[in-house]
């Protein structure tokens, strides 16, 4: 994982977070994040709600100040970088005036920068030339999102931050949004996007930074993050699973991480899935056995510590 960072020391990091924490009263939203982004990387900031993603993005944008630690964007403070049009962001919701037209919104924003791309070009890039005269209030959620995207592209930013950018988009909208981001970043733009859609992180990011409870818990390619949470899941149908201490027996097997029961359905996570399968087939009435490797979702739940909260009426070790 650290190989990602070594190369960054030779050139100016797009984003450098060093020992960043952020407290809101007694609540520690961010508990110490170190993160270097190299120019040109597309990075997913993945984590459950409340993991500290938005707070971290706010600090990179200078909308929040870290309680301790430092934030640098291309060697500048966030505010200096924004004043030079180096950073822009597409926010989840809001941020638009309903009584302006699409074109007016882009013109207004463009007028605030020293240098921008022509308004017409940006409208074209975001695919909203056809609705340029429409009032923002009359635009659909997807159209408003493309407008935010157009505003973010105006200054030709070197770093683009996207906070849950595809929330509320349909599958097609999501796909076309990402294809334009991809196409766009070939010019060397760094993209950091917060998401809780695993498939989105998996499909579109070069690198996944997994955060949980205000800390980075994994950092690497999708394959690397998946490999971090090793082990397999064994599922089977086992009538009367709860009787005769059967669960305890299974739980005592070497390498078993957790055992869940829902009715007749048994779900076991273990490092040595073969041993568990052998035991189930020899010593119990288990049937419909199914063994699966960890998906990214499993790794995600595993590394963010959400597994334990999700076991229903099961038994967990």
């Amino acid at each position: 994982m650290t190989t990602e960072i070594i190369g960054a020391s030779q050139e100016l990091a797009a984003v450098a977070l060093r020992g960043v924490t952020r407290k809101f009263g007694d609540v520690e939203a961010v508990r110490g994040i170190d993160l270097m982004l190299r120019p040109g990387e597309i990075v997913a900031f993945l984590g459950p709600n409340g993991a500290g993603k938005t707070t971290t993005i706010d600090m990179i944008l200078g909308l929040a100040v870290p309680t301790t630690g430092s934030v640098e964007v291309f060697g500048l403070t966030p505010r200096q970088a924004i004043a030079r049009g180096l950073v822009s962001a597409v926010m989840q919701t809001g941020g638009l005036l309903k009584d302006l037209s699409v074109r007016e919104t882009v013109e207004y924003t463009a007028s605030l920068f020293a240098d921008t791309q022509p308004v017409g070009v940006v409208l074209e890039q975001a695919g909203i030339t056809g609705i340029a005269r429409r009032k923002v209030a009359k635009c659909s959620g997807g159209e408003q999102q493309r407008l935010r995207f157009a505003m973010a592209l105006l200054s030709d930013p070197a770093l683009l931050l996207l906070d849950e950018p595809t929330t509320g988009m349909d599958v097609e909208g999501r796909r076309s949004f990402w294809s334009s981001i991809r196409k766009d970043s070939q010019g060397g733009r760094t993209v950091l996007f917060a998401t809780h859609y695993l498939e989105e992180a998996d499909q579109y990011a070069d690198r996944i930074v997994l955060v949980s409870q205000g800390r980075v818990v994994a950092d690497g390619t999708a394959a690397e993050v998946r490999a971090l949470a090793s082990g397999r899941t064994i599922q089977a149908t086992l009538p009367d699973a709860r009787s005769d201490g059967r669960l305890d027996e299974i739980g005592r097997l070497a390498g078993v991480e957790s055992v869940e029961v829902r009715g007749d359905h048994l779900r076991i996570r273990a490092a040595d899935s073969d041993a568990v399968a052998r035991h189930l087939l020899r010593h119990t009435d288990a049937r419909d056995l199914e063994i699966t490797a960890q998906g990214l979702e499993e790794a995600f739940l595993d590394l963010t510590g959400q597994h334990d909260t999700n076991t229903g009426n099961g038994v967990t070790r």
């Binding site: 924004i82 809001g94 605030l112 920068f113 020293a114 240098d115 010019g187």
Partner: protein, 259 residues
């Protein structure tokens, strides 16, 4: 599209982002709002013509006549409404996250407030001009040109009280509802402020009215005409300005969690 973006080539905009494009778009935005036009431009002029029918225009009042007196009052009412709706818009823009969006641009927050204040003054001036032009066309108000100009300028200055009120109310009553409250609210204050109909001096209601926010600015704005500026009016204006600015600042500071 650039091959590799070089941060060193990037410039900061001059004057903190202050520019004419924003002023033009904002002005157009306010002027195409039908409610703004009716309540701030048409209504005060109509009130001026309507109230005029019930009193004797030509009776002397200070350095001019009653027609001039009513015209100054209606201009104040119109300008107060524009300023209040402009103030309420600042709060509305924060509530929909537009201010946050602007924080992602080089625009400095101070320049934002300066541009908003400038717009409030421009719109206030338009509202005052409309009533005055209607007055000129109708031909009944009469006062020396110097007094006429002095009244108009003082009225414009006084509208800042209501810009602050607008921001304050805009924060307490979120979204578009702020104007629903400010409209009737300001009408009531105008009655109490001796703006629509003259209250009997020394009466019970007059003593209450003296304490309300529009009473002071009304006294101040027509002082060049009446030639009489008493301390009650001045104190009233200053105190209410302080209260509204403090209230607006208080609500704004409560709202900084996610600017």
């Amino acid at each position: 599209m650039s091959t590799m973006i070089d941060p060193a080539t990037r410039r900061v905009p001059p004057r903190g982002g202050f520019n004419a494009t924003v002023l033009r778009i904002e002005l157009r935005r306010m002027l195409r709002n039908r409610r703004t036009i009716i309540f701030t431009l048409v209504f005060p002029a109509a009130m001026f013509l309507a109230i005029g029918g019930t009193v004797d225009w030509t009776v002397d009042a200070g350095h001019g006549n009653v027609g001039a007196y009513i015209m100054v009052a209606m201009a104040l009412y119109g300008a107060a409404l524009t300023a209040a709706s402009g103030g309420a818009m600042v709060a509305m823009e924060r509530s929909v996250g537009w201010s946050r969006q602007l924080r992602l641009t080089p625009l400095s927050p101070t320049v934002y407030i300066i541009m908003k204040a400038l717009l409030a003054l421009v719109l206030g001036a338009i509202a005052i001009a409309v009533v005055n032009i209607v007055g000129v066309i109708q031909g009944r108000p009469s006062m020396p040109v110097g007094v006429w100009i002095a009244c108009a300028l003082l009225t414009l200055l006084c509208t800042l009280v209501f810009a602050a009120l607008g921001v304050f109310v805009g924060y307490i009553v979120p979204g578009e509802n702020a104007m629903q409250i400010l409209g009737p609210g300001l009408a009531l204050l105008a009655f109490l402020g001796n703006v629509f109909i003259p209250l009997t001096e020394g009466s019970m209601i007059y003593h209450v009215a003296e304490l309300t926010p529009m009473f002071g600015v009304a006294e101040v704005s027509r002082s060049p005409l009446t030639g009489d500026l008493n301390w009650v009016g001045v104190v009233n204006t200053v105190v209410w300005l302080a209260i509204f600015v403090a209230g607006a600042a208080w609500r704004m500071s409560k709202d900084t969690a996610r600017v």
